[in-house]
Amino acid sequence: MTVEEGTAMRISTFNRHIREGFKNISRNSWMTIASVGAVAVSLFILGVFLLLAMNVNYMAQKLEEQVEIRVFVEELAEQQEIDDIDARLRSLNDVKEVTFVSKEEGLEALRTDLGSEASVLKGLDEENPLRDAFYVTSFFPRQIGQLATEIEKIPFVAEVKYGKDTVETLFNVTSVVRNMGLIFSVGLAVTSLFLIANTIRLTIYARRREIEIMKLCGATNWFIRWPFFIEGMIMGTIGSLIPIIFLGVGYWQILENQSDAMFFLELMPLNPFIWQLALVLIGTGILIGVVGSLMSVRRYLRV
């Protein structure tokens, strides 16, 4: 009785469980296909929602990074007051960057933006209607509203502007997509869980005599459980690989054919995202398979 012997034993037992697990799968091939199909469909839908939610999140983040507060200075302010505002802005905790844009610079920028139509600005050099401004970015774009209120209190600040509505709409869309996706996916996952459990119950039924004899010969519960456990795991894994391939290829196609018309919505790149998605789907698939198998074996172990 050595450790070596124990290890050898465990490997052969492990191989046996794997073999039996695959045997189970071929035993009820039609039910297996049905269950794998159910898992694949529910994980596909979960994947689509994840893809949507992550994309919306990604875009929101991109937009957030661009969100800035424009602080307009009162026209009466002298250079001294402008410097004071600058100092006050830089002293705020949330503030990441402060850029001063004088009204002359503002006009120049406007002219560049308008390009060939810049002629409408003719004559404004004499009487510049713009105000001096500070462009402020925040470390915490989601709390930009609070920052704006604080900035408004600074003396000689005339007006504070930021893209409040755009940012908040985007955050709302993100959470709606996320919640709907979650509800749908959980419902479908539960359905496929029961389908897997049912399929395994059939293979157990086919093997109930074997299980009875195993129990009478003193096999442990886990020894009996393992093949069914593996069966569930295989079904869950295959059921998740199918949607991963479809989603990966599909999303890649979308990225390839992305039209320039969508210039303002930058889609998430394939690379880190597809791996995260694959991980989530495989994990969920295996979880469904394993829970399904344990659910159905329980009753038969009470001999």
Partner: protein, 228 residues
């Protein structure tokens, strides 16, 4: 070896299968358990290898406190007991050899050790040369020998046989009883539940008779004793 103290068993439907059974069976004994259907015989047998859990009382088998044992330890008791059934409970798709080897595989015996043990036991029960037959190619008596070989291959201290001759003709029944006696002679305790009056009367072994959930009789060298 086997000790029961005031064991009661009430099933969930209210049937009192055992009503205060106390008995002691020593190592190496050969015991017949008799009684009409529903007298508690089967429950008594099942309680020994913990297929049924007693409602009340203490049971000791091979050093295990069976009534207090945890679910996870049940396999350990069963590894010290071999069980033989009236309907053989063989796996039809496996050969004789595989059926016997199955008992060793499921308790994770190393592969190297399995073949030697199986061949030795098949030789002992008189099935040498039948290793590759399937159960349906064998006679009833031969099938019961396979099932005895399977119960025995793990080298258990106790063999429990629940009406092992119930499906067999008289001559074959005697062959099976002789085989069990042989096994008993080698030191294994044998407990055999039976309805076979002739066998019990002619064997002159210890007889435990059940009636209405209690032991009505326990004779050293007894007979079947009553009409059923």
């Amino acid at each position: 070896m086997i000790e029961l103290y005031d064991v009661w068993k009430t099933y969930s439907n209210g049937v009192n299968a055992l009503r205060g059974v106390s008995v002691k069976i020593n190592k190496g004994e050969f015991v017949y358990v008799v009684g009409a259907s529903g007298a508690g015989k089967s429950t008594f047998i099942k309680i020994l290898y913990r297929e049924e859990k007693p409602t009340k009382g203490a049971i000791f088998v091979n050093g295990f406190n069976v009534d207090k044992i945890r679910e996870r330890q049940i396999p350990m008791i069963r590894r010290t007991i071999g069980v033989v059934f009236q309907d053989f409970k063989l796996l039809p798709n496996l050969t004789v050899y595989e059926n016997v080897a199955f008992a060793l595989e499921v308790i994770e015996t190393p592969k190297k050790k399995i073949s030697g043990k199986v061949l030795e036991i098949l030789n002992l029960v008189g099935l040498k040369g039948k290793e590759n037959s399937k159960p349906d190619q064998l006679s009833g008596g031969e099938q019961q020998r396979v099932s005895i070989a399977r119960a025995l291959v793990n080298n258990p201290a106790i063999i429990i046989a629940d009406e092992p001759t119930g499906n067999l003709d008289p001559d074959t029944s005697w062959e099976i009883v002789r085989l069990l006696e042989d096994i008993n002679y080698r030191g294994t305790t044998v407990i055999m539940a039976t309805h076979n009056k002739d066998i019990v009367n002619r064997s002159k072994k210890r007889v435990i008779a059940f009636e209405d959930g209690v032991i009505s009789r326990d004779d050293r060298r007894g007979g079947y004793g009553y009409e059923n």
